[in-house]
Symmetry: C2
Subunit: 187 residues, 2 copies
């Protein structure tokens, strides 16, 4: 693995563990076993490296999400699987975790984040429309609103997990949402 890759890998890890502000160039160099030279040879500075790292994170996550949400099989099952996906709740979402530190504060750093959530919303919206077409979801629901809501409920689950130091939040949420979406009075 090249030093450049090592720097990006270490940054990906530290952005997840500590966030942007709390991660220093020296932290990154220590974790990746590189010197100042490699750092500033390959990147303009901390921000530039963070952008590269966040872009990789976003790509990796979207690949996983696409595999799930755009797979074959019943749309209802894919949506339930999205809600029930195993998550490292206490560590937070690798992307959303950074929303309060960056985003609007810095348009460049915010761009990969915006792109991630926009594409994820689209994936969810398509699956929702499929579920409406095959009758497993009511047609009167707005697919865009519902996609945003599913995303929000998962992101909020990360926030609450960390805020309350609880590992069961996402399970509660998944049960509740699946019940509201697919469960009838009968269930």
């Amino acid at each position: 693995m090249s030093k450049k890759e090592a720097l990006i890998d270490a940054t990906k890890q530290l952005l997840w563990e500590k966030g942007y502000e709390a991660t220093s160039p020296r932290d990154i160099q220590a974790l990746s076993a590189t010197g100042q030279g490699s750092f500033y040879h390959h990147f303009d500075g901390k921000k530039d490296l963070a952008i590269a790292a966040l872009e990789e994170i976003s790509r990796e996550m979207l690949d996983i999400m696409r595999d799930n949400l755009a797979a074959k099989g019943p749309a209802q099952q894919r949506l339930e699987s999205y809600l029930c996906k195993p998550r490292e709740s206490l560590k937070g979402c690798r992307v959303g975790r950074l929303a309060n530190e960056i985003s609007m504060q810095d348009p460049q750093l915010g761009q990969p984040m915006r792109a991630y959530f926009e594409e994820l919303t689209e994936l969810l919206k398509h699956a929702i429309r499929e579920a409406q077409e095959d009758g497993s979801l009511p047609a009167h629901l707005d697919a865009g609103d519902l996609a945003t809501t599913l995303l929000a409920v998962v992101q909020g689950g990360f926030v609450l997990s960390r805020a309350q130091d609880r590992t069961d939040i996402h399970q509660s949420i998944a049960r509740s949402m699946i019940n509201l979406l697919f469960g009838g009075e009968a269930r």
Copy 2:
């Protein structure tokens, strides 16, 4: 206003605007027009002051939430009002905004945050149970799970608002959730 109060007020503001890591003692002193002396006379340091500020924030927010959720009137209306409450979405939740910076990292700082979400969950749970008793919500839903879900959807709304730089997220979410909870096929 005493210097001590001024310090806490400034900290409350900066924690909301910039978060914990990005707020320095000097920032706080500048905003509150105080010197080093006042800062370290009244507080042990940055963390101690942040705890005091977060406790005040939590109290203020809970007072507002109690006024809404534990008010008289139909429970359904109170729950809808919680979802539709005007929010400064782009600034993030004054409490939840800090979940990724502190919480488990520091038990002391995390305590006011944990307390905030625990009490808010209870308030929501009670309102949900009332709605189930008067028939406006189905009895088969788990009130605890649903309370967590409502909280999560609002917290996630803040995350997405900032991540995508959009002001309409909470409205989409509120429409969607109210539809799922109270709207029948007819609506």
